[in-house]
């Protein structure tokens, strides 16, 4: 019983830490609807800035508090600058474009932090009070954890007061509901949004500084924080502060107790909780159904047939792709193969995201299932490559069908996060089931048969991927595609004319999963190996970036995005140590210059 009380308190302290990171994210999302991928970077910057301030100050509690507040103010300033220079320009751009822009920022901040503070983990020397413990029922419990436990609800109360008891808070809530109305009443909406963004960023920075007594400032903390924060925000209900606290409490305590019964559970526990909560309560614990905030950008992706010049360009590209292997070297050929596979991967996500209206943060799941479904039969049953390549899309499609049945009932970011949860569960299975999947060491030696050299594999990949992408395109211009778009644009009207919208969405989901599975199967054979990293969040983000970079509105978008992103990535990786910074800057530049994606250039 004593141990379980300590575990409970430990869980509550962890919950407060989680809440402090997530609070800023949910505030920002609730008001601006920006999916701020850079929130983890702001958290990391808060920790580094906090370290720079606090390691120069006396170690007394009052100086610690001062340092944390200063770190918060500094990150708030950075956040405000970010909003004014970048996000403000793209509020009216297509949905999720802010995610792409902030992803670019994440990459830039990673390299900037490395160069400003160096590679070594930075730890803050702790004053005596920070190291002290309180004896609870004979067990020692850190005093600082008790402070954290109290801090969570205090911050919650302060945010609540600000939003309900001040004029600024009232205006912000009004802007959340109806942006146009608020600005018609003469309120400077831009300043309002900047201040909200600064507040959320400041909260992230403070959370970073508050993490210092129990952790180091290190270069991996941004990505760890961002996933945790997103999960908490979504479980709690998007934009709900109190929901975020409840969600943090749920995760913190489950984690602290679960670690005793099943130590490995930490790998995936938060995502299992998220999946369970979203299946039962699609809007999260305390979320309301999101109504589109009036005044939001026109986010509808319309699909027009390709113009003659575009068709010509596509043919020319294809001709180059066919001729290329006879001219270029083996590595360039492997890059082209990679591009071909990326095209199908991106095009499959686009079917869901564009015409289907369902963005996914976990698209790598299907790619990974396809890869494993192709590799395992080859390794275990010595199945031949053509059959393995047939199994890949079928397996991925079947799992997508089962998962899709749960997923398509949801919408927007919630739907995207549920796909992320499933991807993480699939990842955990691949990672943990070492007897079958080889665990983190993956499956090696999945080489194609001897008749299929690199060139043959390239043509196989090219024909299957280009063919797959064309087939997807064909389907979108078929009645099925129009019906799918109808159910995206107006669910009620679509149903009124007798369309089964859920079924249409489910078909799109399954189709996308299946196509991504084929891409994964091809990847397994061209690389000769499969690793759990193919299912990682990073790989899912790659798919999103490709679609958004190219432009979600056109069928050419994901194809262009896949070519540009893969090419840019490979070229930069070889060209510079600072490839993350340059890649990030390039993404930000593209977002600012052509918010509708590179394919949008052609339309101008």
């Amino acid at each position: 019983m004593i141990a379980s009380l300590i575990q409970l308190l430990t869980g509550m302290a962890e919950a407060s830490s989680l809440f402090l990171v997530a609070a800023g994210l949910t505030v920002i999302f609730g008001v601006t609807r920006v999916v701020n991928f850079a929130h983890g970077s702001l958290f990391m910057l808060g920790a580094y800035i906090g370290w720079s301030i606090l390691s120069r100050m006396p170690r007394d509690p009052e100086y610690f508090a001062l340092g944390v507040i200063l770190a918060g103010l500094a990150t708030a300033a950075i956040g405000a600058a970010l909003e004014m220079t970048l996000l403000r320009r793209i509020y009216r751009a297509p949905e999720l474009l802010q995610l792409l822009a902030t992803f670019g920022v994440v990459l830039m901040v990673q390299d900037a932090t490395l160069h400003l503070w160096g590679p070594e983990d930075l730890t803050l020397p702790r004053g005596r009070w920070l190291r002290s413990a309180v004896v609870i029922l004979g067990e020692r419990f850190p005093l600082y954890d008790l402070i954290l436990i109290a801090l969570g609800p205090i911050v919650l109360a302060i945010i609540w007061m600000i939003f309900t008891r001040t004029r600024w808070g009232t205006l912000v809530r009004a802007a959340t509901q109806d942006r146009d109305m608020v600005s018609a009443l003469g309120v400077d909406q831009r300043r309002l949004f900047t201040s909200v963004f600064a507040m959320g960023s400041g909260l992230a920075g403070m959370a970073g500084a508050l993490a210092l007594p129990e952790a180091s400032a290190n270069l991996q903390m941004d990505l760890t924080a961002i996933t945790d924060a997103f999960v908490v925000v979504v479980i709690g209900g998007l934009g709900s502060i109190s929901g975020a606290y409840l969600a943090a409490l749920l995760i913190g305590i489950l984690q602290a107790v679960g670690i005793i019964w099943l130590p490995k559970s930490t790998l995936v526990l938060v995502f299992v909780v998220m999946a369970a909560v979203l299946i039962v309560r699609p809007n999260g614990l305390r979320g309301r159904k999101l109504t589109a905030a009036r005044g939001e950008a026109d986010t509808i992706a319309s699909i027009k047939p390709a113009s003659p010049s575009l068709k010509l360009a596509a043919l020319a590209t294809l001709a180059i792709a066919i001729a290329a292997p006879f001219v270029i070297g083996p590595f360039a050929l492997s890059v082209l193969t990679e591009m071909a596979i990326a095209i199908l991967f991106a095009a499959s996500l686009h079917v869901m995201m564009g015409p289907g209206g369902m963005a996914s943060f976990g698209h790598a799941a299907w790619f990974g299932i396809g890869a494993y479904a192709a590799a395992l039969p080859v390794k275990l049953l010595t199945v031949s490559m053509p059959i393995a390549l047939l199994i890949a899309p079928i397996a991925a499609g079947m799992v997508a069908l089962a998962v899709g049945a749960l997923v398509v009932r949801l919408n927007g970011v919630t739907l995207a996060m549920l796909t992320l949860a499933f991807a993480q569960i699939v990842w955990a299975v691949a990672f943990q089931w070492s007897d079958v999947t080889g665990g983190d060491n993956g499956i090696l030696g999945v080489w194609p048969p001897s008749w299929a050299g690199p060139q043959a594999m390239y043509f196989l990949a090219l024909s299957l991927c280009a063919g797959g992408a064309l087939l997807l395109r064909k389907m979108l211009y078929a009645p099925w595609g129009f019906a799918l778009r109808a159910s995206r644009d107006s669910t009620q009207r679509a149903e009124a004319i007798g369309l089964d919208t859920q079924r249409l969405r489910l078909t799109a989901f399954t189709l996308a999963g299946s196509a991504a599975g084929l891409a994964g199967g091809l990847a397994a054979f061209t690389k000769g190996s499969v690793f759990p990293t193919t299912i990682s969040i990073g790989h899912s983000v790659d798919a999103l970036v490709m679609v958004l970079l190219g432009g979600v509105q056109t069928m050419a978008g994901p194809i262009i995005g896949a070519i540009v992103y893969t090419g840019l990535f490979d070229a930069l990786l070889l060209a510079t140590d600072l490839w993350r910074f340059v890649l990030g800057a390039a993404i930000v530049a593209i977002v600012l210059i052509v918010p509708q994606g590179i394919a949008g250039l052609a339309k101008r």
Partner: protein
């Protein structure tokens, strides 16, 4: 759409262009190195410094076989699939003679498999998994660092002398962690059948929930703890452990914790009396170590870390292997490296013929706190050869 075509062309032109202008006369020996520079900078950046320093030294001394060494470095960002792709670029476009590198075990194994497939020599520096030289060892694969088996074997003598009978373990949940725990248990039980292992914590790499992990270990009431975590996980674990008194009146055996990259961040919170493997950079006094430290400080204006040692030794081991092989032909090197002896800052080491593991050892000692910094005390150098199993056992472990 024009842009696509242009980008595609530009991209393929960049990639296809032979980036080398070869010198007239004797061409340099090219070493292609792939590592997780952006994913694990705390280890890999000092490591890269070590590589560069050693290459400069070898070239200043006239190179190898009368040829200079040229180093080509690639960043795999911690992803095994990218590592394999970059290895492909190094082999097919850059025509490197030797592949080297790796930090995480899975990346090392992926590169090793690539080397086998392409019949190219691969010399792994840091990856610690035993599979690299045993279970999945092959003719073209060599590995420098003491493996998880060797790390466990080096610590187990001290562990067996402890009175503790009830042990708990905490290790990151991936190959390196689980493999170290497996060997440590096996080796300790062989020496001390009275020992029982009562709790195993397996936090996710880089995401330890330190408070809950420490509380769970505390609840199991072990007499001794084996720690395998490193980096940010270790810092969090130690801080929570210190505050909650987990390490008081308990023995702790800890892998890699004495390496400066992991010990330095612990600062004044360094727990005292842990049995660790590592590198007492402030205390070594022998000529080889001091010479390296002086050269490193002169070049980079900081003290070397364990990564620096691995980087420098890796180049030395490759140079010696090529010299002994008398050629950069892969087949000649695959045979010729075996038995080659090379100088490292830690002393002389050899490439073993039976499993292609080097005999580079590491330091074993105890942690102590001096002037607010963690140090290793009572240390001794354990030669790698002394920590390896019998040849008969290696034979059963290495099918190839």
């Amino acid at each position: 759409m024009q842009l696509t075509r242009r980008t595609l062309l530009a991209a393929s032109a960049t990639l296809a262009a032979p980036a080398i202008v070869r010198a007239q006369g004797s061409t340099p020996i090219r070493i292609g190195e792939v590592n997780s520079y952006t994913a694990a900078p705390a280890f890999t950046l000092p490591y890269r410094n070590g590589l560069m320093l050693a290459v400069e030294q070898v070239n200043a001394a006239g190179g190898v076989l009368g040829r200079k060494i040229e180093l080509l470095i690639r960043d795999d960002a911690g992803k095994p699939a990218d590592a394999v792709r970059l290895a492909g670029e190094l082999v097919s476009d850059q025509k490197v003679d030797v592949l080297a590198g790796g930090f995480l075990s899975n990346v090392g194994l992926a590169l090793s498999d690539f080397a086998l497939q392409n019949k190219k020599l691969f010399v792994a520096g840091e990856p610690l998994t035993d599979a690299l030289v045993w279970e999945k060892g092959h003719r073209y694969g060599y590995r420098l660092r003491p493996s998880t088996y060797m790390q466990a074997a080096m610590l187990v003598d001290d562990a067996a002398k402890l009175p503790a009978k009830r042990w708990a373990t905490v290790a990151p949940n991936y190959e390196y962690g689980t493999s170290t725990v497996k060997w440590f248990k096996q080796l300790l039980l062989a020496k001390r059948p009275d020992v029982t292992f009562i709790a195993d914590q397996l936090p996710t790499l880089g995401k330890i929930d330190a408070g809950a992990t420490v509380a769970a270990l505390e609840q199991a009431k072990p007499e001794a703890i084996l720690n395998v975590t490193f980096g940010p996980d270790l810092t969090n674990f130690v801080r929570q452990g210190n505050t909650r008194g987990l390490f008081e009146n308990r023995s702790v055996v800890s892998v890699l914790t004495g390496e400066p990259e992991y010990l330095d961040p612990l600062g004044e919170e360094t727990p005292e009396g842990w049995y660790v493997t590592g590198y007492p950079v402030n205390a070594v006094k022998d000529a080889a170590n001091l010479a390296f430290i002086a050269a490193y400080k002169a070049r980079f204006n900081e003290l070397p870390k364990m990564g620096s040692i691995v980087g420098a030794s890796l180049i030395a081991s490759i140079a010696a292997g090529i010299t002994k092989s008398g050629s950069t032909d892969s087949e000649a090197m695959a045979d010729g490296f075996a038995g080659a002896s090379f100088a490292t800052p830690f002393g002389q080491a050899t490439w073993r013929a039976q499993d292609h593991q080097s005999t580079l050892g590491t330091y074993v000692g105890r942690t102590a706190l001096k002037n607010g910094h963690g140090e290793m005390v009572d240390w001794r150098y354990v030669d790698g050869a002394a920590a390896l199993p019998s040849d008969a056992m290696v034979k059963t472990l290495r099918p190839a």
